[in-house]
């Protein structure tokens, strides 16, 4: 029996339906997603734990960050998620010209994110801020560099998806891979939502 025969219920391109039986991506994907989300949750908790020792120092260091850049980055990732979610829909509808374009739009937003982040790092280094200056910056650089690595991996996945969806997909596992890539990208988005709140907004 091949992989292809173990199709999720409801035909080749199964999306969520009334039955509530569709696992986004495939069950194994959630090992990766919950693994990553729990790992980042531990980092978030460590941040607030260390913040508890020196709230005023953390608040002082936070003032050096540009909230506008953080806000722009949040909006970029939210928008890319919208494109990618629509891209998955287009793939299900076998719209082979629309789907890759939507993924490319997602990539454009991702590149915008990477550019803004690089600009932000450049500005901070220009102000002579180093990682060792304060625990806040340790967390700022640690969290954002890790997240940026995820953005880069997600961008590579989006490129693969854009190239693979130029032709109609043939196997249920191919649809599962596209959904998995999209879910990874949404996870990158949701992690940033929490990072933005913790680093830029918490008082």
């Amino acid at each position: 029996m091949s992989e292809g025969e173990k199709a999720p219920s409801g035909g080749l391109a199964s999306g969520p339906d009334e039955s509530g039986a569709h696992v986004p991506g495939e069950p194994g994907l959630w090992i990766l997603l919950f693994g990553e989300m729990s790992f980042f949750a531990a980092l978030f908790a460590s941040f607030l734990y260390y913040r508890g020792f020196d709230p005023s120092g953390f608040a002082e260091a936070q003032k050096q960050l540009s909230q506008t850049v953080g806000l722009i980055n949040t909006l970029l990732l939210l928008t890319s998620s919208l494109f990618v979610a629509h891209g998955v829909r287009a793939v299900r509808a076998a719209q082979t010209s629309l789907a890759p374009r939507l993924f490319v739009l997602g990539i454009v937003c991702a590149i915008g994110f990477i550019a803004c982040k690089s600009f932000e790092y450049y500005e901070l280094f220009d102000h002579g801020i180093a990682i060792s200056d304060h625990t806040f910056y340790s967390f700022y650089f640690g969290l954002t560099v890790l997240h940026l690595g995820h953005v880069v991996i997600g961008t590579i996945l989006l490129s693969l998806m854009a190239s693979a969806t130029r032709r109609p997909l043939k196997k249920p596992t191919h649809f599962a891979m596209v959904e998995s890539g999209a879910c990874f990208w949404h996870m990158v988005d949701l992690l940033w939502i929490v990072i933005f709140a913790l680093l830029y907004l918490v008082e």
């Binding site: 194994g28 994907l29 990766l32 990682i131 967390f139 640690g142």
Partner: protein, 239 residues
């Protein structure tokens, strides 16, 4: 491939079980004798580092011996993984080759740091700063080059997602592909240890040490399980 092209199932099973020696020797050396578990803080002052090597110096050096022996035991399972990958590849098994090469190079990061700590322990009458230098060299060599590991993992992920074999008795089921992908993403955290001396990003912290250590252990158990399961199936279907 013709029958009998690959190593016998029995040989491969023996090789997989040899991985236990890696775990046991490493635990004896690293935890029991060298007392590097949990890892010493990355900002430990030179005199305290020297004290770690000079008190119970002989015990530490015996630990080095066990550690040096353990390194080679990463190779057997690397070879079995590659043989199982090659079974599923068409033509020249490129993914299996890169996995085996990266695994062979990867053993260096097991035994070489231990040899460096061994040099530090060999002459403890040196200035404390020199011992500190060797100590840090060993630790960063042990933790930071984790990024070598991804080359081993990429092929496993690729095979898990493209194979035409059923998940039920494959050595590389799709869920293992996702577990390996998580491992791949996380292994990039290792090099971050170069930047930090304290906190969760330093070499004794959550990110470069505890998470890769836990994840690697879990991944090893998982792949040993799927390899043995696949080999059992291959023996049954060839009989």
């Amino acid at each position: 491939m013709e029958k009998g092209f690959y190593a016998s199932v029995t040989s491969q099973r023996v090789l997989v079980w040899m991985t236990i020696a890696l775990g046991v020797l490493f635990a004896i050396s690293y935890m029991g004798l060298m007392r590097f578990f949990p890892p010493p803080p990355a900002d430990l002052p030179a005199d305290e580092v020297l004290a770690h090597y000079s008190t119970n110096n002989i015990r530490f050096r015996v630990g080095v011996i066990f550690g040096l022996i353990s390194g080679g035991f990463l190779l057997p399972i690397t070879v079995v993984i590659s043989v199982q990958m090659a079974r599923l590849e068409k033509g020249v098994p490129v993914w299996a080759i890169i996995q085996a090469l990266a695994g062979a190079v990867g053993t260096i990061f097991i035994w070489f740091p231990i040899l460096i700590w061994g040099v530090a322990a060999f002459t403890v009458e040196r200035a404390a700063e020199l011992t500190l230098l060797m100590h840090e060299f060993g630790w960063l060599l042990f933790i930071a080059p984790l990024s070598m590991f991804p080359m081993q993992l990429i092929g496993i992920i690729f095979i898990a997602f493209t194979k035409e074999e059923s998940d039920a008795h494959s050595a590389f089921p799709r869920w293992l592909g996702y577990l390996t992908a998580w491992q791949l993403v996380q292994s990039f955290g290792g090099p971050i240890a170069v930047l930090f001396k304290t906190g969760i990003f330093s070499w004794n912290g959550l990110l470069p040490f505890w998470l890769p250590f836990g994840l690697f252990s879990a991944w090893m158990v998982a792949i040993c399980y799927t390899l043995l399961r696949a080999l059992r199936h291959q023996r049954a279907s060839s009989a």
